[in-house]
Amino acid sequence: MRAILKDAIGLFAPQGFLDGNNSAFFLNDEDIKIATDLNADMILVSLKKVIFFNKNGLDVFVKLFLEVKKKKNITVGFCDYDNKKFTTILKFYSDEMNFSLFKSYSIASLFSSSFKNKNKNVLLYSDDKSQKTAMAIELHDFGHNPIVCQTLEEFKEKSLNNGAYDDIINDTFIGQVGQKIATRVSGNAVIYSVSLFLDTEISNAFNIVYHNNSLNVGFRLFIFDACKVISMNIHALNFFSKLSSSAAEYSATICFTGLDFTKIPVSFKETMEDSGILFYEKMDDILLNKELLKELGASCAANIKSKRVLNKDIVSKLPSFVEATVATIEMMTNSKAKKEAIQINKIEIREKDNKIASSIGFYGDVDGMIILVFPTKIAKKACELLIGESTDDAELILDTLAELVNIVGGKIKSLLGDHGSRVNITLPRTYNNIDDLLEVIEDKKGVQVDLIFDDDKFLFFLTK
């Protein structure tokens, strides 16, 4: 069974009956490897469509969970269940719960280091005090605002006021959560939250693939929220120095906020400053200062690692890229595409209104970035297949568009693989207006292909 990957959560969703005879056929280590290779930092099995399970059935999954947790240090567990299933699982594994239980997928995503919607108001209750505290700390670290209920009565009462909270957590159990560093995006800055004593473990906990992807898609400002850091050793120092040096290749900046140097040698600070790291007292000193943000590179997310130009190698792949894109949009809109014009130049978008865009980068044997500019109407039509209804919710359309572009990226990766070129794809990035897009790629030359889908103009742009 293949996982659905969203917000770095690999979700497996078996249906029907689970027992010792069939569980291994639903999920095996190869399935999990595919999900973790795609940078899943949480592996979950949804029990939403499971009507029957026994301990033998779950044991197969739990064994796989523990193996992957040991290897990858990620969060594993079950989600999407009712109270009956929750209490049954707790009973099965009362002696040793080394995995997590999330009542719903949306609750699980609050604990994902890659979940982009932070600052959620979350009502929280557990009759296990240590669980309650652990969850509150985790939620806080991931950028949310937990409202902890001390008693069940208080929880029941507050739960009635549904609209007051973005999510309500109960019947949830945090096993050992993955030690990945919490990550969030604010504007054009990527913020990492680090805490306690930083040592050699930082290189395991830090998602370097995500970081590199962020550089590849154009992020230029990376902030480490270090207000909860007690101290660090030489291994952590080396890690940050290297990270800063490699970021400099992209003209990116690394900053620390709230780092207290009372228990950190002064020489460490000097070394970090020498490698280009900047220090600020508070996060808001950066985020609320527009001029400083501009200076640090967060207002312009252009890829300026090197002044790359398109080469013959990448242009020779163009027909395959266009074909993959066209086939995907045709599939999603059930319409036919017509090619209008091809030109090599800077991107030219005649009408900027009612258009949205998305980009995805690929790097490896060949590097490049594909930008798709959609009339909102086509984007909405393409999204209908994925979300099942027409919508005007801009955020939902952009999210679904990102998934669509992910599909295009996956196809391109597989097409290049067929031609012997191995590449990785970056996370997709969406732009809800064309000016934001132009800020990133205005000066870049590339190949522009104008297409028409049912009388709507659509633009494909390939650049480096």
Binding site: R2, Q15, F17, L18, K49, A327, G388, E403, I407
Partner: protein
């Protein structure tokens, strides 16, 4: 990706019920098992199918049974009709399965399991009606239709399903406003299967409950039985488990009885 034209072409290509089968079903309907067996003997493929089917372990015969008269005798009237319908459906199977990891044997096994367990359910419900008994034979048509429509779009579907939990039925509805079960009904109409059979199978998708109480109840049992079978290792491995969406809430009220019937 898939258009209504592709669906229409698929339905157009479905052959009408072969003459021998038509005659066999008619005689079975008249209740003459011996005469029906004699007619069925003329179709060697049908004979081979029946022989293969009843000698599967699930039927539990010690010695091989290959005489059609004997087979019809064992299966009884309603069972014989059901088996002839199963055979008709098997004629639609692809020579090579591309989308699902199935083969002739595993598909026959699915048919046999569904048929025998359906009989058990009907016995539990005290229902003795050969049309209702035969209804189960149409259910696997949904699998054949999925294979036929999606096998050439395997990679597209794989990518689509990697980002969103979409079953084949939902994809088809969103693309063409037609469900797999609509297409099953078109097959049933072409083969003169009864209206009742069509209604039960249509409601068994779990997303279009029937207003008729008995039909809806039977559809629930059929939906749950389908997912019981699709949870068996062979069919999980064949990637059939999530080809349509399991509607857990739809079957919740019969679940306890189901566990009794299936001795879970």
């Amino acid at each position: 990706m898939i258009t209504n034209k592709i669906i229409d072409d698929f339905i157009d290509k479905i052959p009408p019920k072969p003459d021998i089968l038509q005659a066999t079903v008619k005689i079975l309907n008249d209740g003459n098992l011996a005469k029906a067996a004699k007619v069925a003997e003329e179709d060697l493929a049908l004979k081979a199918y029946l022989c293969n089917l009843v000698n599967k372990p699930i039927y539990g015969f010690k010695n091989e049974v290959c005489d059609i008269g004997q087979i019809f005798g064992i299966l009884s009237l309603s069972g014989s009709q059901q088996t002839v319908y199963n055979y008709m459906l098997s004629l639609l199977c692809p020579k090579k399965w591309e989308l699902f990891n199935l083969n002739e044997n595993s598909f026959y096994e699915l048919q046999a399991n569904l048929s025998l367990h359906w009989k058990k359910i009907l016995d539990f419900l005290n229902i003795n009606d050969k049309d209702i008994e035969s209804a189960i034979t149409l259910l696997p048509a949904s699998i054949i239709v999925t294979e036929a429509l999606f096998s050439t779009k395997k990679e597209d579907v794989k990518l689509l399903r990697s980002v969103n939990s979409l079953d084949y039925n939902t994809i088809l509805i969103r693309l063409c406003n037609t469900s797999l079960f609509d297409i099953c009904n078109k097959i049933a109409t072409k083969w003169d299967m009864s209206e009742q059979i069509q209604q039960i199978v249509y409601a068994s998708s779990g997303i279009n409950p029937s207003k008729d109480k008995q039909i809806n109840s039977l559809a629930k049992w059929m939906h749950l039985l389908l997912f019981y079978e699709l949870s068996q290792p062979t069919f999980v491995e064949a990637q059939l488990n999530d080809f349509i969406d399991f509607q857990l809430e739809y079957v919740q009220d019969i679940y306890e009885d189901f566990t009794k019937v299936m001795e879970l």
